[in-house]
Amino acid sequence: MIGITKTFGNVIANRDINLQVEAGEILGLLGENGAGKTTLMNIVYGLYRPDSGAIKINGKPVSLSSPAHAMAQGIGMVHQHFKLIQNHTVLENIALGYKDAPFLFPTRKVAHDLRRLQENYGLEINPDVYVWQLSAGEQQRVEILKALFRGADLLILDEPTSVLTPQEAQGLFRTLSRLASEGHSVIFISHKLDEVLSICNRVTVLRHGQVVGTKDTAGVDKRELARMMVGREILFDLKRKDVKKGGVVLEVQGLHVNNDRGLTSVSDVSFDIKAGEIFGIAGVSGNGQQELVEALTGLRPIDSGQILVNGRDISRASPYTINAMGVSHIPEERIKFGTAPSLAIFENAVLKQHGNRAFSGRLFLDFASIKEHAKRIVSNFKVRTPSIDVPVRTLSGGNIQKLILGREISGKPSLLIASHPTYGLDVGATQYIRSQILQLREKSVAVLLISEDLEELVELCDRIAVMFKGKIMGIVAREDLNLEHIGLMMTGSHARSACEAGK
């Protein structure tokens, strides 16, 4: 069969990797964050150049010096973070850089050719819509169309399901199967074992920049793959003690919050969380979770409703006051929101608490106690750093997250709000943070966990609520968990009718 071979070594991120993909097959590329998957694929796509080794397409060696070059060779890539221009239409995005487009009115020709392509592959998208108006799943379809439009025979998808609902993921899998049956090759990069096992024909596992092995998915199981990925046995169950729940810490009643454009993004939301309880919110990003968190942490004004923490109304309080009342927050985009990159670690260690009497007088900062505090966080949470004086940006992503976690937890909060705390972290850091959250539960802290990772929610939460278009579709207790049910709620089916549909 016609195939693609890659043989190369790249000392820093990829070491002596041999990879082979056949036409009409879906190859999974499995590995933790930092294992080198993305770097490898960037080399294939011409964004990086390998220090040594060769890439062959259909037996012929090629040198891929740029994405344009790669595209000319029939390689297309759908990145994890979409590379689409939000303010442009679908047509304009697809027409960008398209060599055969005419100079004048290029979008007309593109529209015409696009229609044919859409019919062939069943990827329905209105080409005149602006990209920001599309859902994540639809945007992904645009990315796939973009690649196919350039004549991609090999399609690389980097963590494609990280932004999709379970239903949308199914749709993606159907599309991929169709592509494979038409003779395209697909490389499916993921760290989600279940998905890789369900959609891929074969899977290659990377660890620390090297290939651990390649197996047919038919003959391998989850534990074996996990072991190959991490090099040790992975415990899939964290120890979960029975914890007695305390009083209500957070109470939200009838909350309405508007987004930046004045549209309702949180609609009549009510729930409460008790001490020692982990309450999860599931749902695809963009359904109001961010605005909810912003309202709870004082970063966004409320339209109507009430928020009570330990009985006190914080609906109109400032972030500073809320923090002082024992509410800690791990932000979604941690580097973006949680740190000042050029400032030193010890300065970041008191980011929200810099006004506390412990750390500063009326005017001046108390450096001695700040540095003490920083040292304690670094050692307790195992943040790997040469010293506390270096700028925060020198830390790796996982260590930054540990620093932020440490900072928020050491404030001895009564409520911790964690937004996607393990997103993008490797398995080791992820397990660590999850176990820390469980420990908080044992210390009677109330935890609000927002995550798109259902596996994570299922592992940690006592109760899970599903948000869709600003409303809570239903709250499910741990004992009654049903993943399919939750998936349906994530796409808008109401709890009751979903139940009935399931019967």
Partner: protein, 307 residues
């Protein structure tokens, strides 16, 4: 009275010409994501080089070409610092203004007070130029104006309906997305900045060759900064640039008209700057934020490569 109106409109269009030229150039530059605050400096250099070249050679055309070249060269410095060195674009633009103003002061010194030997004649368009009133206002005009108007249409069409335009706009919105589609982001930003420089130089040439025909230090009078404000007011759309440029042209003319009314000249002198402020405020109010916003990555150095 009629001839007053004709003269006012005529003069307004002329006064707005350098603003229009500069704004069109800056629109292209900013659409590609580069903020070039150095327009004042580039205009000044364009003005002085046009004047000195024409003075020495007697050729208006040569003066214009040299001015364009000078403006382009200056913008190249900014492009190098902003695109290749990825330095702070605000500071680089400010340095360019200082450098340009200083340079023009230096070179122009010996020419202060000496009038230009040749002059730029109004160009009369056959037939249309003979229409009473309107003919004198619009079609018997400074050739620079015709160039500016044509360029405006060309730029609008180019940005909106050609491949080139999509590329430039995409680079300004998302260099990362553009690069992954095979676009050479640096090249696009360099060229867009140079177009901005060329037009700023051309605007300067108009100032010294046609608008005022003499050289005085500081003759740009803040027009470069007004251009930057007008770019925002135009919402990065060449067609709206007409509105802003000629509005301001009118203000410069208004200053002269109001003088006999006894308003102190200095208060009148404040007018363009006050109105610039107002213009900036108006530009923001009541606009559909998404569709009329600045190019998303304007002024942000593109750090390149995958994260």
């Amino acid at each position: 009275m009629d001839s007053l109106i004709v003269a006012v409109v005529h003069r307004t269009l002329v006064a707005g010409t350098p603003l229009l030229l500069g704004t069109l150039g800056e629109i292209v530059t900013e659409r590609a994501g580069i903020l070039n605050l150095g327009v004042e400096g580039m205009m000044a250099v364009g003005a002085v080089s046009a004047f000195t070249t024409t003075f020495v050679t007697g050729s208006i055309l040569l003066g214009v070409l040299v001015a364009i070249a000078a403006g382009t060269f200056l913008s190249l410095i900014h492009a190098f610092v902003s695109v290749t060195l990825k330095a702070n674009q605000v500071v680089s633009g400010l340095a360019l203004v200082m450098f340009g103003l200083g340079l023009s002061g230096l070179w122009g010194k010996s020419f202060i007070g000496t009038p230009l030997p040749t002059r730029v004649h109004d160009l009369k368009i056959p037939l249309l130029g003979n229409v009473p009133y309107i003919g004198k206002m619009f079609f018997h005009q400074d050739p620079f104006l015709y160039v500016a108007v044509i360029l405006g249409v060309v730029f609008w069409f180019g940005l909106a309906h050609t491949r080139c335009g999509i590329v430039i706009r995409s680079v300004g919105e998302s260099p990362a997305a553009s690069e992954s589609q095979g676009i050479n982001v640096s090249l696009v930003q360099y060229l867009s900045t140079m177009i901005g420089g060329a037009l700023a130089g051309l605007a300067g040439a108009h100032l010294s060759l046609s608008y005022s025909r003499a050289w005085a230090e500081g003759m740009t009078g803040g027009r470069g900064w007004i251009v930057i404000a007008l770019t925002i007011f135009a919402l990065w759309n060449p067609l709206r640039a007409y509105l802003g440029a000629f509005l301001f042209g009118g203000i410069f003319v208004l200053q002269y008209l109001l003088q006999p009314l006894g308003i102190p000249p200095n208060i009148l002198g404040m007018l363009p700057y006050l109105i610039t402020l107002m213009v900036l405020v108006i530009a923001v109010i009541g606009k559909d934020a998404r569709r009329h916003a600045a190019p998303a990555m304007l002024g942000e150095p593109y750090l390149g490569g995958e994260g």
